[in-house]
Symmetry: C3
Subunit: 150 residues, 3 copies
């Protein structure tokens, strides 16, 4: 099944992508690698703010990570035109905005990892790191960056 | 001297490696680069939990980083079969679970960096970043990811 | 205009670079990619310590990030000899030492991103991630690492 059809099957509609206001870009290519800037969690177009272990539950964090995965795929599509050009999701780094005693960053991050594998299949299996940070721009609850091979 | 002999000389026995339970992998290859997932600190097979500047001393953190280096090498061996295939340890990112005023993340990380150079010699010299994070999955005291050229 | 002339135009004098004391290096090359170790903020040769949202304002953090960009360029020059060899600034990761409720890591990081684009023009436009961390070695207020294509 094509990736576009898988997205349709999963009921995923890719959102419009925005260009950063500042002196950086959302995707930087070097050879066959795409380095995708950190994407912060959004809900209905607005920043999804809050800390895990405080305002947000692990389930909500996992949902936020899944929504970021959708945004990352939208950025990929906007850059590549055709998602079939993706050879492999190489690496994910997931930053969870959390209290000093919250220890389920891996479960939150599964929201992103699982969607990538649902959409890209074997090509979606990636290396990753997940950890808890003191804060994230605009107070977002999760931020994820990605390296992709094309 | 071969890398296996160096490990023997240093009295290092590589542990069995485990596959992640979730939708990611421990090693993702793209071209000649291996991206190795973040490995959390373990002692005798169990997570080594705690915060630097609180439950753990810098010396203990350094020991934890050294043990992670051993686990990273075990993951490399499990993936490559033969450690002689390593051309270069390219990059290390080291996350130290610490209080807001603990500032010796670099000394903790030396535990990993020094072992990599002991084992791989000149090929073990890598770029790196080390910093303190709010938390790490399962409360582990240190987490380290690595990029390796083969 | 050459990059050296742009630096002169901007009144930037590259500082002397130091080699790390420990078992790592400031630049690690793999293929056409240079991985540059995390550089911590310095002022007049000394560590610029402090937390954003506490001792430092966003403007000061932005200035610190700009000074790190200068140091990163100095490291690049020391490694390459000639800055014209830079094909592209690929990726920046920026760690901001901050309180648990400080949310302007992106503005701080603009200090680095903007200087890279001023100096390298189109080639300076990079992907990036910026987030807040619990602490940084020696208490530095910002730490930035970089990937560069040559």
């Amino acid at each position: 099944m094509s990736i576009e059809n898988k997205l349709k099957d999963l009921g995923i509609i890719l959102p419009a992508t925005a260009n950063p206001a500042a002196a950086y870009v959302m995707v930087s290519q070097s050879g066959s690698l795409l380095f995708i800037s950190g994407h912060i969690a959004k809900r209905q177009g607005a920043v999804w703010a809050g800390k895990l272990g405080q305002e947000l539950t692990t389930e909500q964090g996992k949902e936020a990570a899944k929504l970021i995965a959708v945004d990352l795929i939208a950025t990929l599509k906007s850059h590549l035109g055709d998602l079939e050009k993706v050879k492999k999701i190489v690496k994910v780094m997931s930053l969870v905005n959390c209290t000093n005693d919250y220890t389920e960053q891996h479960i939150v991050t599964n929201g992103c990892s699982e969607l990538l594998v649902e959409v890209f299949g074997e090509k979606g299996k990636h290396a990753r790191s997940a950890f808890g940070v003191a804060q994230i721009p605009l107070g977002a609850c999760v931020e994820i960056e990605m390296i992709v091979e094309v």
